[in-house]
């Protein structure tokens, strides 16, 4: 990474962590994860202890119904909720990245530095993706600590978090594009929500489109792709799908940046 680019990333991170919003977002994700995970783990434990009470045969194999397991009772519901939480929180972080610069007019100042437009976009993207990674890492601490302590299901949890990270990157990419095309942070956030909602799950299209067409566009949905990770299955195709958001968002942001320059 060039010195100029590194300086830009540092500046972006400093701005990000200088604002209470970033910390509040991290607190929100970590708190929601902890409470959701604890609550589901608590209920799961209660069910297990109920089944394992002496009148029901203890922990002998076969006495506990197969559906009472970490995957079905804890991982899936918590991670589904977390995925929706990300849609709510990630645009709050991305909305300011370009829109704030435009609103304040500092984007023109930035354009006069020796940084190329590509470097500017890369720097902002890198800082935002880094923040998403940090967000995921913070929310990972408690579930991972619990699971490691119980000695169970860590690979599945890793798969789920890989999916959440990939989803976070995709949502951040959408948010960055919306921010790049907008001068208003509010509009950037709302349009990021709207686009994320459109892409999150295409099942709503079955109400309007023929079944075959709806089935054809279904694989484009974020929810479907994230679902495989939530189920514990990591597929290269799903990783490539989420990674694909990065070059598309980068190209669209460059378009927005240059459109502004030539206007």
């Amino acid at each position: 990474m060039s010195t100029r680019l590194a300086a830009l990333v540092r500046k972006e991170l400093a701005v990000l962590f200088g604002s209470p919003l970033a910390w509040l977002t991290m607190a929100g994700v970590a708190l929601v994860t902890a409470l959701l995970f604890f609550d589901h783990l608590r209920i799961y434990n209660q069910i297990l202890f109920l089944y394992s009470s002496s009148t029901m045969g203890g922990f002998t194999s076969g006495t506990i119904p197969i559906y009472v397991n970490l995957r079905d009772q804890v991982f899936l519901p918590v991670m589904e909720t977390l995925a929706l939480t990300l849609i709510g929180l990630v645009p709050l972080v991305t909305m300011r990245v370009f829109a704030e610069e435009r609103a304040r007019g500092t984007d023109e100042l930035l354009a006069t530095t020796r940084l190329t437009p590509r470097e500017i976009v890369i720097g902002k993207f890198a800082a935002t993706y880094g923040f998403v990674a940090l967000l995921m890492a913070l929310s990972f601490v408690y579930p991972a600590a619990s699971i490691i302590r119980a000695g169970l299901g860590l690979p599945h949890l890793l798969a789920v978090y890989l999916g959440l990270f990939a989803l976070g990157i995709a949502l951040a990419s959408i948010g960055l594009v919306c921010s790049a095309f907008s001068e208003s942070q509010l509009l950037a956030a709302i349009s990021a929500y709207a686009v994320a909602f459109v892409l999150y799950d295409f099942r709503w299209t079955t109400q309007f489109l023929p079944e075959a067409v709806a089935a054809a566009i279904d694989p484009l949905s974020l929810h479907l792709r994230f679902g495989a990770f939530a189920e514990g299955l990591v597929r290269a195709a799903d990783l490539a799908y989420f990674a694909g958001y990065v070059p598309i968002a980068f190209a669209l942001t460059r378009l927005a940046w240059d459109q502004r320059r030539v206007r």
Partner: protein, 506 residues
């Protein structure tokens, strides 16, 4: 134009938000989506008109054209990468029960079918299992020629009636005019359906009866109905052979199964078996310790020694409520088709076993070998019938510790054909209570396949692995929540407060 776009975006967010809350498209969502479509369409048209009328310089137009081309290239790149990755098919199954890792048998069963196989998954909205089943089908489709379809059950009443579909997440596998219904889709259930769709084999197995042998129609724990069902799935026809009334083994027998006889066989039965083997017949004998049936003497003529003793293997802990050592867990196998794939991580669990020692070859060209062994710490307890129930056998001072063969096979080329014999020193391991434990089903099914000269069908079948079910105590959970779960957000909130104060003051 911007106002219209803003209205459209807000309406779109609310319309789809309502869908995600309701999982349906109520009137509110419908109205919002209609407004969004109209507003965004109008905004787009206005933007297009403005762009056409605008007086951007040729250089600016070229720049923007390059950027638009870059967007198209990025889309193409993303699409190509996704397709390439999908074609490569790399996956990592992180589930505790390895539910997306297909057994070799499933893949072989799928690939053995002629082209044109379709799997239709019938689901209802809100069925949480559907995604898991769909992923399992996609995994299967990636392994062989299978077309996967999904249908809404509420819109497929005709199919539901035709196939008898009673619940969501049901799969119908179709191949031409034939079809199989899979109501609780697991890999095991799909495997059985795939096998049933395949061409049925003409192999006939005769199951000996009449001297207290295990019953293949008994569905209790001690019965062998599970083995019967598994053999039928593998393409065998099962027929009873009432030994006391049989003076000859039917000529269409692919093999004879002798499963745990409890009484001595009559001389006429033994003679029939002897003649059958001499004529190139195939026998699979599962013989319990503590029972003398006369088969031991017959097998001795074919080279097997079966001392009446119990193999006690201290390397095996207490299993199934029995004392330690009496139910050996077998993890040492010799290289033979019947034990293909079995080993230290794919073990077999016997429930009280006698040694089966390949002693001497009747003819120089015969082949005789042990295929499964106890651990080196095992010893023989004589008179297994005299052991007190529930008590751990005590090792006599003069008992010799050694690897004891627990199963052996022999093949005997004769003029009339090649005779094959499989002898296993236990029958209970294939009963309903133990058949699905570890790799017991694979061991017995593969041994039968080998005896019946159906080696290509020897494989490892799908397993149901126990999922994570052991909990943390409530105290541990609470300690983790206070120790880690709440600490992280608390520190973040403190940092947020400091950032806010710093901004206000500076």
């Amino acid at each position: 134009m911007r106002e219209l776009a803003a209205i459209g975006i807000v309406a779109l967010a609310f319309g789809l938000g309502a869908f995600y809350v309701d999982r349906d498209v109520p009137l509110f969502a419908l109205a919002n989506l209609a407004v969004a479509a109209a507003a965004l369409g109008a905004a787009g048209a206005l933007a297009l008109r403005r762009a056409r009328a605008g007086g951007a310089s040729p250089a600016a137009r070229r720049l923007l054209a390059r950027r638009i081309a870059a967007v198209a290239a990025a889309l193409a790149l993303a699409w190509a990468c996704e397709r390439g990755a999908a074609r490569g098919g790399w996956t990592w199954d992180a589930t505790a029960d390895q539910r997306f890792t297909l057994a070799p048998a499933t893949i072989e069963a799928l690939r053995a079918l002629p082209p044109g196989l379709t799997a239709t998954l019938y689901t209802e909205p809100g069925d949480n299992r559907a995604r898991n089943v769909r992923l399992l089908l996609e995994t299967l489709a990636a392994a062989g020629p299978l077309e996967v379809r999904t249908r809404d059950l509420s819109e497929a009443s005709k199919e539901a009636e035709r196939y008898g579909i009673g619940s969501s997440s049901t799969i119908v596998l179709e191949l031409g005019e034939r079809w199989e219904l899979v109501e609780r889709p697991t890999e095991g259930a799909l495997y059985e359906a795939l096998r049933l769709l395949g061409t049925p084999s003409a192999s006939v197995l005769y199951v000996a009866r009449g001297e207290g042998e295990g019953r293949f129609d008994d569905m209790e724990d001690a019965g062998y109905s599970g083995l019967a069902a598994a053999l039928q799935v593998e393409g065998y026809q099962l027929r009873d052979l009432v030994l006391p009334a049989a003076d000859a083994i039917p000529p269409d027998a692919s093999a004879v199964l002798l499963v745990g006889p409890r009484r001595p066989l009559r001389d006429v039965s033994l003679a029939a078996l002897e003649r059958y083997l001499a004529a190139g017949g195939r026998l699979v004998a599962l013989l319990e310790p503590g029972v003398e049936t006369g088969v031991e003497a017959l097998l001795a003529r074919w080279g097997f020694a079966l001392p009446d003793a119990l193999v006690v293997d201290p390397a095996s802990g207490p299993v199934a409520g029995d004392p330690p050592g009496v139910n050996p867990i077998v993890f040492q196998f010799s290289d033979h088709p019947a034990t293909r794939g079995l080993g230290p991580t794919r073990m077999v669990f016997l429930r009280g076993a006698r040694p089966v020692i390949p002693e001497r070859k009747p003819e120089p060209d015969d082949t005789l070998r042990a295929i499964a062994y106890s651990s080196r710490r095992a010893w023989l307890a004589p008179e297994p019938g005299g052991l007190p129930p529930g008590a751990a056998p005590e090792r006599p001072a003069d008992a010799v510790e050694d690897y004891f063969p627990l199963a052996a096979v022999g093949s005997y080329p004769r003029e009339a054909g090649e005779a094959r014999i499989v002898v296993i020193g236990d029958a209970d391991f294939a009963a309903n209570h133990s058949l699905r434990a570890l790799y017991n089903a694979d061991f017995i099914l593969n041994a039968i396949h080998w005896a019946a000269a159906r080696e290509p069908e020897i494989t490892l079948r799908p397993k149901t692995i126990t999922v994570d079910q052991f909990p943390m105590t409530p105290q541990q959970s609470l300690r983790m929540l206070y120790g880690v779960g709440l600490l992280v957000p608390e520190l973040c909130l403190i940092a947020a407060a400091l950032a806010w104060v710093r901004r206000r003051s500076g």
